[in-house]
Symmetry: C2
Subunit: 111 residues, 2 copies
């Protein structure tokens, strides 16, 4: 379920927007309320809530409401899943290049 393709969709889609990345960036330095997240962003609070809902749906951010303030924090597990997807593809490519290099070196020896 960490590799559910629709979940990956949601995560990468969430990270594709600069405002949402800024929110994730802010949250990487510690939890924050909705208003705190909104503060540096040049848009309405309503827009921020919509971004936040997307981030939560993607699993990247977890929130909990106490009284009237909703506190948000990063879900590192989800970040790790996205990271992992990229990493596997990159490694697969790089291993292939290594094998190719070895092959070329070997065939060179044989001349």
């Amino acid at each position: 379920m960490l590799h559910d393709p629709t979940q990956l969709d949601l995560m990468f889609q969430a990270l594709a927007d600069p405002a949402r990345r800024q929110m994730v960036n802010r949250l990487s330095r510690g939890p924050a309320s909705v208003s705190q997240l909104a503060e540096p962003l040049a848009m309405s609070l309503s827009a921020v809530v919509q971004h936040l809902n997307l981030l939560e749906a993607s699993g990247l951010v977890r929130t909990q409401k106490v009284g009237r303030v909703r506190t948000c924090q990063i879900e590192p597990k989800a970040l790790r899943a996205a990271e992992h997807w990229i990493n596997e593809r990159r490694l697969s490519w790089e291993r292939r290049l290594d094998r190719l290099g070895d092959f070329l070196a070997e065939t060179k020896d044989e001349t």
Copy 2:
């Protein structure tokens, strides 16, 4: 320039689409032509080319045309940039949690 925000936008946006991720996935196993990339996808060749152009604009994929076939391959540097962005935020969060843990452990000692 590896951390150009608009470049990150393009990369994460490129990765947000399942068809494009499938293309990256295919390319992680080795170079491919446009038709080869298109083959497993349930869409027109034209649509695939459009996806491919996006992937190229994002820097994730590099292509070169020899004769009438365009050969595509992954650009691992770009993948690494995306990976790095996520990794830094996750680590920042996890380090924060560690410090918090240490603090709680220390204050517990003091009782």
